[in-house]
Amino acid sequence: MDKILIANRGEIALRIVKTCKKLGISTVAIYSEADREASFVKEADESFLIGPPPVQQSYLQADELIRLALQSGAQAIHPGYGFLSENAGFARKVREAGLIFIGPDEDTIERMGDKIESRKTMSAAGVPVVPGTDDGVASLDEALDKADEIGYPVMLKASSGGGGIGMVLCQDEQALSQQFQTVKNRAKAYFGDDVVFLEKYIENARHIEVQIFGDNQGNIVHLFERNCSVQRRNQKVIEESPSPSLSADAREKLFSSALEAAKAVHYKNAGTVEFIVGEDDNFYFLEMNTRLQVEHPITEEVTGLDLVEWQIEVAKGNPLPIADQNAIRTAGHAIEYRIYAEDPNTFMPSPGSLQKLDWGNTDQVRIDAGYREGDQVTPFYDPMIAKVIIHAEDREQAIEHSNLFFAQVGLEGLKTNLPLLSEFIESKEFKQGNYHTKVLSEWLKQHKGELAK
């Protein structure tokens, strides 16, 4: 494998280019008209304009991407995250075109992309799943009956959903009655499939996920956990590794379950098993993401491994670079902050021009950014400007270094969540570490009052 087409944009495309350069592999970027001047286009060895800014006309043009990969002589396609990364049809087409898809088998993607199917698979493998319906609920009457059995509050979820879209918390019968058709309609509009199901809502839960890796030789390892409980609108904002609030016993059980989950689907390449963990440290399988995650850098920082390099090695058919679980260690504590172009109080998107972008002294900070000073952050793609990753000897030092970073960073031209992040990490809720997924919204209500509504 000496040339890879990167079917993505922004910081993830740059991130993949970086590892490819290290490995002596050429890269092919594809870009929309909105990204003509982007860093990832300039850093790749070759680049092709694929279409106008809307993703349906550019980054989701599966056949065109495959054609360009073949035309440019690439042997493989790396899908990054989002876009076509968890599209089994795309993975299948890539393989049928004689190319390598840098990710798991299409059958695994398909099975894990269906939330109901993945619940069934994990349940059969002995991995604990959240109490809920075994199949989709067809009517409101059925949903109300099942919710009574499960007990309120319940989560109403689209079976094909993801990224926080297509799921609604229902505190009671009235809420479920009001939301049922809306969630079905939204599921149909976004995912082309209106199957919905119910899950018990676990109160005060933490969102903790385990990075897993498998190869074609049957080796499967975990690369420890990430706590992703600081969220807004079900989207992650801050992640850290290790989790500051997990007992040693629960941590070991979580790793065992993640490995069981991966073995159940003969997992190959990079994946993540997401769990929700209750106050009592009991945990439940939430979903398996069949791709590299946005937050993979914190795992890289604590393990010292390059996960994109591992992905490429596995895609080449080689065994995992380290297949012995005991030989994989972690050191220190890493925190990732997602810098979003959005109003820090209302979370509304704020596209615009990055008139000033100065990260300050970044000696001890890893910045994975797709934008530079002067770039436009357009409304066509997600609002993430950069990921800031801080790795230190322990959590206290990581927070201290974070404070230094936030004091130095200068970003002007559009609204960002920087003020929110810098203030929130000083809160006692974040510092004590034992926070759950509602911590940010509750903190905002308490400290920002009306603005948080």
């Binding site: 809307p54 509009a189 509304m348 998107p349 596209p351 409304p379 066509f380 793609y381 609002p383």
Partner: protein, 71 residues
């Protein structure tokens, strides 16, 4: 006459009303998708929808008039 304008640039996700519909103040007329988020656009006054200038899939800029409502 009230103009229902886009608060930010984005793609029209759904148009929730038809010409001739009676709408209430605060009713969501159009849902935009911007930066992977749903942005509901509400009418600031009640009345009859007299025009709709967009359809699902259209890209709109900030301040574009999406619909008009006659009080």
């Amino acid at each position: 006459m009230t103009e229902v304008k886009a608060a930010m640039a984005g793609t029209v996700f759904t148009v929730n009303v038809s010409v001739g519909d009676q709408v209430e103040t605060g009713q969501v007329i159009v849902v935009l998708e911007s930066m992977k988020m749903e942005i509901p656009v509400e009418t600031e006054s009640a009345g009859k929808v007299t025009s709709i200038n967009v359809q699902a899939g259209d890209f709109v800029n900030e301040e574009d008039v999406l619909a008009t409502v006659e009080e």
